[in-house]
């Protein structure tokens, strides 16, 4: 589902990622870890085409990302749900509208949007907060909204960048539970985190990113 072949990325001549090659299979849940500044976010950005590789090839859900034209990028992104490190919630929209936005982009009919968003809100147990604005929610609730927004359009791939960055242990466990549920429904999930506790003992594949390249691959 995600395939990197000899990918390198430079910023102003400085190497950020060097000769990265790995494959994430369809339906897999994998982690990518490493210290801050190791290039985890850049690697995710390469997948959803916010950055372009300087060398190598990236294939995501059948799309050769490096060769995508500007006008085609939105259609790749509709196949890739993203849970951003900084949430990127719209504070002038309610919880319902934040999630519905992802479906409106897909040109879905209003009645269908209402039904789908309501179901998702029930799944993440935030139905009672649908008319609330994000700034009035806790960090954990905001993160659940972000995950719901990423998943509501049923993408084939879900990327999460430090999804438990500012959350306590209990909330983090709940959030990771949500990712497992999503993965169990068949979505390929790739989570970037520096927190070893998140993947320790999960039995999932972990890619260790250090010094611009993948240092090792192991089972968590």
């Amino acid at each position: 589902m995600i395939q990197f072949s000899g990918v390198s990325k430079y910023y102003d001549g400085d190497v950020v990622l060097k000769d990265i090659s790995f494959t994430i299979e369809k339906g897999e849940l994998a982690y990518i870890t490493g210290p801050s500044g190791a290039g985890k976010t850049t690697l995710l950005k390469l997948i959803y085409c916010a950055e372009r590789p300087d060398t190598g090839q990236i294939v995501v859900a059948g799309w050769d990302v490096g060769k995508l034209k500007q006008g085609t990028i939105p259609f790749l992104r509709r196949n890739v749900g993203i849970v951003f490190q900084d949430f990127r919630l719209l504070f002038n929209k309610t919880v319902f509208d934040n999630i519905a936005l992802a479906l409106r982009i897909h040109d879905m009919q209003p009645r269908e949007i209402k039904e789908t968003v309501n179901n998702v809100l029930k799944d993440i147990r935030l139905k009672h907060k649908e008319h609330v604005f994000p700034q009035h929610l806790s960090g954990g609730e905001q993160q659940r909204i972000v995950i719901a927004r990423a998943m509501v359009s049923r993408p084939t791939v879900l990327l999460a960048d430090e999804p438990t960055g500012n959350l306590d242990m209990d909330t983090s466990r709940n959030i990771m539970g949500l990712f497992r549920e999503i993965n169990a429904r068949g979505t390929t999930v790739l989570i970037a985190t520096h927190n070893n506790a998140l993947f320790h003992g999960t039995g999932r594949r972990v890619l260790y990113l250090n010094n611009t390249h993948i240092e090792k691959e192991a089972v968590g």
């Binding site: 959803y48 085409c49 916010a50 500007q70 006008g71 990028i73 939105p74 259609f75 790749l76 992104r77 509709r78 993203i82 951003f84 990127r88 719209l90 002038n92 936005l101 992802a102 409106r104 982009i105 897909h106 040109d107 879905m108 009919q109 209003p110 949007i113 927004r149 359009s153």
Partner: protein
């Protein structure tokens, strides 16, 4: 369809949320359009007056005192064959006196004092309308005055020249002013939409990451620009109608003939004002949103 509804809702929400800046923009656009349309209306009125005057424009060819009837007939034949001349009217010495008597009215008795008729016989010629340019008329007058039996040729040379100059100045000014105002409307809308675009920069960034197409992102801004143009156009059309009606009604009290002289802008002109506002504002919005890069 769903995208269009969403874009409309977003645009309407933004118009309401940013009502003061939108109102100012709409008023600026409407003032620009009003100045332009008023100027065009004045130009049209002057042009129409010129055409109306031109309709009655005549060249009077005074004939030699001792010209025989045969020679007069030959001259008439010559004028009738001239393709530049539309109408030929012969005015005999006797008819000239009659007409003068009529125009003098109560003072006509003054003519009884005269021993003989001092007025010459003449031809009144009407030239084709398209020839009514000072240089052309002057050339024609010179040509006719050289004919045998012609004493003098008279026409409203100064009037014709002044009105033509005025019409040319007004038309040229309308073109320049029009271009300047149209550019200004584009610029005014561009500025407002650019401000809105920057204010929603974070939201646009999120939309791009969620997979929104360029059309999805641009549409609300274009609708907002279109609204500004249409609203501005409507206000200026209503204002123009009001000003024109006021001048027509109030002007009649001062100058009664103004009603027949004034030309009212046709309905199409009002529609055109709204259309011009819409197209120019839409252009401004389109430039403001610019190229969206992912």
């Amino acid at each position: 369809m769903s995208t269009l509804i969403y874009a409309l809702q977003t645009a309407m929400k933004s118009i309401w949320n940013e009502k003061w800046i939108n109102l100012l923009t709409v008023l600026s656009v409407s003032i620009g359009l009003l100045i332009l349309s008023s100027f065009v209306t004045v130009t049209l009125n002057v042009d129409s007056a010129l055409k109306r005057w031109a309709k009655g424009f005549g060249m009077v060819v005074y004939l030699d005192e001792d010209l025989t009837g045969k020679a007069e007939n030959e001259l008439k034949k010559l004028f009738l064959q001239d393709p530049d001349i539309l109408e030929v009217r012969y005015i005999s010495k006797e008819q000239a006196v009659r007409e003068l008597r009529l125009s003098l009215g109560e003072n006509a008795s003054i003519l009884d004092e005269l021993d003989e008729n001092p007025l010459p016989s003449s031809f009144e010629l009407k030239l084709k309308r398209e020839l009514l340019k000072p240089a052309v008329v002057k050339k024609k007058a010179e040509q006719i005055s050289r004919l045998k039996g012609v004493e003098e040729v008279q026409y409203g040379e100064k009037w014709l020249s002044s009105l033509n100059t005025l019409s040319t100045i007004l038309k040229t000014s309308a073109i320049f002013l029009g271009c300047a105002i149209l550019v200004a409307i584009v610029f005014i809308t561009y500025n407002t939409i650019k401000i809105f675009f920057y204010r929603r920069k974070d939201e646009i960034e999120t939309l791009k990451l969620l997979g929104a197409t360029r059309t999805f992102i641009r549409l609300p801004f274009l609708i907002e620009g279109l609204f500004i143009g249409i609203a501005g156009g409507l206000i200026s059309a209503v204002a123009l109608f009001g000003i024109h009606s006021m001048i027509s009604f109030k002007g009649v009290e001062i100058l009664p003939s103004i009603r027949t002289l004034m030309v009212a802008p046709p309905l199409q002109a009002y529609i055109l004002i709204v259309l011009v506002g819409a197209v120019m504002s839409l252009t401004g919005s389109f430039i403001a949103v610019g190229r969206i890069r992912y």
